[in-house]
C-alpha cells in the first residue's frame, strides 16, 4: 500500500489542523431543480483543505446530486459554489476527481481505461506507464489489465474506478459510495488508501451508507435529507451527539424510507 504514499508525497508533512484549514470549496444557498423538482436546496457547506467530509443521508436524499453540484456536473439553480475561491467555471474539474456511484467504464481494456484518464490529465510516456502500473496494483487488478473493463465484476469495476481517480493525483477527491460493492478486505484496503491519500494532503468528500465507515473516516459530517442539510459539523459531535431528529433516527437505523418530498 505504499503506492499512494509514493504517489503524493508533496503535502504529506503538512496535514493541516482542522480548525485553521482554509476552505477549499464553499457552497452558499446551493439548490438544484430539474424539470420542476427541487432535488437539493439551501445547502451551505464548507469543505476544508485536507479534511475528510462524509456525506450521509437516506436513499434519494440528494447526496449524489450534491456531489455533482460540487463537481460542476450539474448547474446550480440557486446559490453558488466556490472552488479555490472562484465560482465554478469551465475548469471546475481541474484538480478534482470523482468516483461515481455507478462506475462508468470506457469500452476498452482495464489498462486502456487507466491510460486514457492519465493521458487526459497530461501524463505521457514512462510517467504514465508508471502511474498506470501503480494504479493496477492498487486496485489489485494486475492480472486483469488486458480484460475489457466492462466485463469486470461489480467490485472490480468499483476498484478500477477508484484507482483511476487516484492515479491522476487530484487535490479533491469526491467518492460516491466507493465501497458499496466491495468485499470486506477490499473495503479495508480502500479505506486505508483513502486514509493515505488524506495523509498526503488530498481533500476528500465521500458518500456512504456505512455508519462504521463514517466513524472510521470522517473528520466532518454532512447529513442530507429531502435535499436539505439536516445537520453538519465535526464527526465527533455529529455522530455522537446529534442535534437533529433525522440524524438520531438514522444512527439508530430507524430513519425509514423517505416520505414524499414536499413539492416546491
Amino acid at each position: 500500500m505504499r503506492e499512494v504514499a509514493t504517489l503524493r508525497t508533496v503535502l504529506s508533512q503538512n496535514v493541516i489542523d482542522a480548525a485553521i484549514a482554509p476552505p477549499l470549496m464553499t457552497a452558499r444557498g446551493l439548490g438544484c431543480s430539474i424539470k420542476g423538482q427541487r432535488l437539493v436546496r439551501d445547502v451551505d457547506l464548507t469543505i476544508r483543505q485536507g479534511r475528510r467530509t462524509v456525506v450521509l443521508g437516506p436513499n434519494g436524499a440528494g447526496k449524489s446530486v450534491l456531489l455533482r453540484l460540487l463537481h460542476g456536473l450539474l448547474p446550480a439553480s440557486e446559490g453558488t459554489v466556490l472552488w479555490r475561491g472562484n465560482p465554478l467555471g469551465a475548469d471546475a474539474q481541474d484538480g478534482q476527481a470523482m468516483v461515481f456511484q455507478r462506475p462508468v467504464m470506457l469500452r476498452r481494456s482495464v489498462l486502456a481505461n487507466l491510460n486514457f484518464a492519465l493521458k487526459v490529465r497530461g501524463f505521457r510516456g514512462p510517467e504514465r506507464a508508471r502511474r498506470a502500473a501503480q494504479a493496477l496494483e492498487m486496485a489489485g487488478l494486475d492480472h486483469l489489465a488486458k480484460r475489457p473493463a466492462r466485463v469486470l465484476s461489480g467490485g472490480e469495476q468499483q476498484r478500477l474506478a477508484i484507482a483511476r481517480a487516484l492515479a491522476t493525483g487530484p487535490d479533491l477527491l469526491l467518492l460516491d459510495e466507493p465501497t458499496a460493492s466491495l468485499d470486506p478486505a477490499a473495503t479495508a484496503r480502500i479505506e486505508a488508501l483513502i486514509g493515505q491519500a488524506h495523509a498526503s494532503g488530498v481533500t476528500i468528500v465521500m458518500v456512504t451508507h456505512d455508519r462504521g465507515q463514517a466513524q472510521r473516516l470522517a473528520d466532518d459530517v454532512v447529513f442530507l435529507q429531502d435535499g436539505r442539510l439536516a445537520e453538519s459539523g465535526p464527526a465527533s459531535t455529529l455522530l455522537h451527539s446529534p442535534r437533529s431528529d433525522a440524524v438520531r433516527a438514522w444512527l439508530d437505523g430507524r430513519l425509514f424510507v423517505t416520505t414524499p418530498q414536499t413539492q416546491p
Binding site: R68, H71, G72, L73, Q93, D94, Q96, A97, M98, F100, V104, L106, R107, R108, S109, F116, A117, K119, V120, R121, K146, P148, T168
Partner: protein, 224 residues
C-alpha cells in the same frame, strides 16, 4: 450473365472507377461527417437543434439537385470552372461527398449522442477536452458507426443522378456501374442492365465482407 462475362475489360474498368469514386467519396464524407456528427452529438451549444434538423433534412438532398449545384460550380462558366474538373472522376467524388456527408453526419450524431449519454459526466469529471472527447466517442462507438459508414457507402455506390450530371457518363472516362446501368436501361437492354446491377451488388457485398471481416478481427483483438 454471359453478356457480362464477355465484356471483361470494359467492365473491370467501370468497376474499378466505381470503387474508386465511391470509396473516395465515402472516405471524405467520413472525414467530415463523423467528427461533425460527433460534435453535434456530444456538445450542447446554441443552435444545436437547428443543426440536427438541417443534418436530418440534408439526408433527403436529391442527387439531381446536388449534381446540378456541383455542375454549376464546376462548369466553365461557373466560379470554379478554371479548374477543369467537370466531367472528371474528381467531380463525381465531390458530388457524392456532398450527398453522403449529411447521411454520415446525421446518423453518427445519433449514435454518438446515445453513447455520450453514458460517458458525458465521466468525461467532464476527467477533464476530457473537446477534441479528445470526440476522438474517444468515435473510437468507442466504432462498431456501431460501421453500420453508419456502410449506409453512406450504400447511398454512394447506388447513386446515379448526381454522377450522371457532373461525370457525364463518358465512356472510358467517367462511366461507372450506375451510369452504365442507366445507359443500358435506356437502350432497352434490360437484361444487361440487371446483370450489371447484380455485379454492382456483388461489389457492395465484397466491400461489406471486407469491412465485416476487419470488424470481426478488430473486435477479437480489442478483447485480447
Amino acid at each position: 450473365m454471359s453478356l457480362v462475362a464477355g465484356w471483361d475489360q470494359a467492365l473491370s474498368e467501370i468497376v474499378l472507377l466505381s470503387l474508386q469514386v465511391t470509396l473516395s467519396a465515402v472516405f471524405v464524407s467520413c472525414l467530415i461527417g463523423l467528427p461533425l456528427g460527433a460534435m453535434v452529438g456530444a456538445f450542447r451549444f446554441p443552435g444545436r437543434r437547428p443543426a440536427i434538423l438541417i443534418m436530418n433534412v440534408l439526408m433527403g438532398l436529391p442527387p439531381v439537385v446536388v449534381g446540378l449545384m456541383v455542375y454549376l460550380m464546376l462548369s466553365a462558366s461557373g466560379p470554379m470552372g478554371v479548374l477543369g474538373l467537370l466531367y472528371t472522376p474528381t467531380a463525381m467524388i465531390i458530388a457524392q461527398t456532398v450527398l453522403v456527408t449529411p447521411i454520415v453526419a446525421a446518423l453518427s450524431r445519433q449514435v454518438v449522442e446515445d453513447l455520450h449519454q453514458e460517458y458525458s459526466e465521466q468525461f467532464t469529471s476527467m477533464g476530457v477536452g473537446p477534441l479528445q472527447r470526440i476522438m474517444a466517442l468515435l473510437w468507442d462507438a466504432r462498431f456501431s458507426l460501421l453500420t453508419v459508414v456502410l449506409a453512406g457507402f450504400g447511398r454512394a455506390v447506388a447513386e446515379v443522378g448526381a454522377v450522371m450530371i457532373v461525370g457525364g457518363n463518358i465512356n472510358h472516362v467517367t462511366r461507372v456501374m450506375t451510369t452504365a446501368i442507366a445507359l443500358e436501361t435506356s437502350k432497352g437492354d434490360l437484361e444487361l442492365a440487371l446483370a450489371l446491377g447484380l455485379v454492382l451488388l456483388l461489389i457492395a457485398l465484397l466491400v461489406n465482407l471486407v469491412v465485416m471481416t476487419v470488424r470481426g478481427t478488430a473486435a477479437r483483438a480489442s478483447y485480447a
